[in-house]
């Protein structure tokens, strides 16, 4: 699955992102993660707070915040290394081959520049067009993401737009230079449900040329638009596979627990099925599977970290677990 395929737009291999701890040790917020995204595919990276999912997203853009640093492995976009690339090259990649969408569009949109000038500047930098041509492209980009009266909106400043429109502008900006991959970190988390549905629909229809990495805490959001899902816990992937299969036949107890804990419309009320305990915090030394203290299936074997291995379903459905949920009669625990 890694590397080989020619249509891989984003490859992450054995990535480790380390943060120094007060006691002198190093915590790997991302600890040996590998994944690949093909052209036209959306991969959902699902995890809770502190799982390392946002750190991985930042690393794909060469934006790991200090004092964190990439301590091992590599990231490539269209075969070109991002890890270790000089800042000048990274600036060309961001907004060029890599489009970015953040949870809060105000993070990605300069508040003192008009929407038109933000878009035109990016178009001129990456495509070398003159100002008039760039503004025409900008207008087309706004139109393509469903913004009404796009010419007039070029004059608007980000704060004059609603949250939903701002996120549309952010997506227009992410797409405008025909990126190979879009990295979207919780793009709809701050939005109302009906606006979230609009934005997910937009991502679903507009990302078809590029690959997409969707970072989310919400399995429901991933279920809406992702082709594949990767579940991350304490910096490590615990399960990856086709979205429909991971959601209907989860193999890792953590994935099954997340699905069971989420509220849904077709289940008897009134109680939910929580995962007991809490996610672990930063530690210098890991012993075995990080989910072990919260896992009902944990045994002695779990003292050694399991590798991500095929689970006997789809070829690319893999899980890191010594006690995977059984293949026969496997179901979502209710």
């Amino acid at each position: 699955m890694m590397g080989g395929a020619t249509d891989t737009v984003l490859a992450v291999e054995d990535l480790r992102i380390g943060f120094p701890l007060a006691d002198g040790g190093v915590f790997n917020a991302v600890d040996g993660v590998s994944l690949a995204i093909a052209r036209g595919e959306i991969l959902g990276l699902v995890g809770e707070s502190g799982s390392g999912k946002s750190m991985l997203a930042l690393a794909t853009m060469g934006l790991v915040p200090r004092p964190g640093r990439v301590a091992g492995g590599r990231i490539e976009v269209l075969g070109e290394p991002v890890t270790g690339a000089p800042e000048k090259r990274l600036r060309a990649l961001r907004g060029g081959r890599i489009g970015m969408v953040f949870q809060d569009p105000m993070t990605g949109l300069n508040p003192v520049r008009s929407v038109g000038s933000i878009l035109a500047e990016s178009i001129r930098r990456h495509q070398g067009l003159d100002k008039a041509a760039a503004l025409d492209r900008a207008e087309a980009a706004l139109k393509a993401v469903g913004i009404p009266a796009p010419r007039a909106r070029l004059e608007a400043y980000p704060h004059q737009l609603s949250g939903g429109l701002r996120q549309r502008v952010m997506i227009a900006l992410a797409l405008v230079n025909h990126p190979a991959v879009i990295v979207a970190d919780e793009p709809t988390t701050a939005l109302d449900a009906t606006i979230q549905a609009q934005i997910l629909d937009l991502l679903r229809t507009r990302l078809s040329d590029a690959g997409g990495l969707l970072i989310t805490h919400d399995l429901g959001v991933a279920a809406e638009i992702c082709d594949r899902i990767a579940v991350i816990y304490h910096g490590r992937l615990v399960e990856t596979g086709p979205a429909a299969e991971v959601l209907s036949r989860p193999v890792h107890p953590y994935t099954a627990g997340l699905i069971a804990a989420a509220p849904r419309f077709d289940r008897a009320r009134p109680r939910l099925n929580p995962i007991p305990g809490q996610p672990p915090g930063p530690v210098a030394e890991r012993r075995g599977c990080s989910f072990r203290p919260r896992c009902a299936h944990a045994g002695e074997a779990c003292g050694v970290a399991p590798a991500l291995e095929p689970v006997g379903l789809s070829a690319d459905h893999r899980a890191a677990c010594w006690h995977p949920l059984p293949a026969a009669g496997r179901r979502v625990p209710a």
Partner: protein, 341 residues
């Protein structure tokens, strides 16, 4: 059913002064919560749901209408006259980081309401604090620690312990779990249920997540732009939604059940602002089935059938629910595989 509800708001309006004149964030809303009942109040930003909650708590004074709590109108009571009511009517907020004083130990946070309402002497209060920590699943040594030493889920447990300290008859919870991770959300939802089983208190739960509200509420009230657009039992709202906005919300709420792929009802545009309220039905500019009448007249909230809920729409039930009628027929935990679509 002749027992009056514990809380009954009637024709409640709450406005704010703006440069453009007075704006009604809550516009003639009627709502009731029975003893021991859980009512879920859902809506998006600007729907007025949080303003309504804060008005029921009397953080705002209503412009019009009444709020009856246990038969007494508390809408215009002075803060001093509200004090005995507060003992029976408590609130939990979304952000457990902001709602707890960071300089106070958990012991003091929990003892404060007990002292204010003269629960008992020092020994009685200390014992009560220990009981409260136990009831919300926190260790007894938490009394000496500060809120910052706890995770988000644990802080919400502290806030819940404070809210139940005086054994209130009713708790208003504004987005009580939306700041928490999914696995922790479920723990807190179950804790609230445990508490209700013990205290038999009523809950008014305000949330944006319709799936969550369906999971915990007996009845659901849907708000849009300051008004109630639909109200009914939790099952009726989800299985037989009448208002097109409810249908759109059901369609737009992502849940991780793939086999039950829904029909997508994607609304155009943004929710309007109360400052710029559309004429006629407030939902008509985004409504997929609006007709001329909806642009001119405002529908009242009326019962749509005997024993059924109420809906404010000229064409109730015309927009079908986003799922097949059989979706809820089977009560099987394996329903995610091969369920009808």
């Amino acid at each position: 059913m002749s027992v009056p509800p514990l809380l009954e708001a009637r024709d409640l309006s709450v406005g704010f002064r703006t440069r453009g004149g007075r704006v009604h964030a809550v516009d003639r809303v009627s709502l009731s919560v029975g003893r021991g009942e859980t009512v879920g109040l859902v809506g998006e930003s600007g729907s007025g749901k949080s303003t309504l909650a804060l008005t029921i708590m009397r953080a705002h004074r209503p412009d019009g209408g009444t709020i009856r709590f246990d038969g007494r109108d508390i809408g215009q009571l002075s803060p001093a006259a509200m004090k005995p009511i507060r003992r029976r009517l408590q609130m939990i907020f979304q952000d457990p980081y902001a709602s707890l004083d960071p300089r106070m130990t958990v012991g003091r946070i929990l003892a404060e309401p007990l002292k204010a309402h003269r629960w008992g002497d020092r020994t009685a209060i200390r014992a009560r604090v220990a009981d409260l920590l136990d009831a919300v699943g926190l260790p007894s040594d938490a009394v000496e620690r500060l809120p910052a030493q706890f995770s988000g889920g644990q802080r919400q447990r502290i806030a819940i312990a404070r809210a139940i300290a005086l054994e209130p008859d009713m708790i208003v919870a504004d987005e009580p779990v939306s700041a928490l991770d999914v696995s922790i959300q479920a723990q807190i939802v179950n804790l609230l249920r445990d508490i209700q089983e013990r205290l038999d208190n009523a809950f008014l739960v305000i949330a944006h997540d319709l799936a969550l509200v369906h999971q915990i509420a007996d009845r659901i009230v849907v708000m849009y732009l300051g008004r109630v657009v639909e109200e009914g039992t939790a099952d009726d709202i989800v299985e037989r939604p009448q208002h097109p906005y409810t249908v759109a919300l059901l369609s737009a709420t992502p849940t991780p059940d793939v086999a039950q792929r829904r029909q997508r009802v994607i609304l155009a545009g943004d929710p309007p602002s109360p400052i710029d309220r559309p004429a006629g039905c407030p939902f008509h500019p985004r409504c997929p089935i609006a007709e001329d009448r909806c642009r001119m007249e405002t529908p009242d909230l009326t019962a749509h059938g005997p024993g059924r809920g109420r809906v404010a729409c000229f064409f109730p039930g015309r927009l079908p629910p986003p799922w097949q009628p059989h979706t809820f027929g089977t009560d099987s935990p394996t329903g995610t595989e091969g369920s009808p679509r």
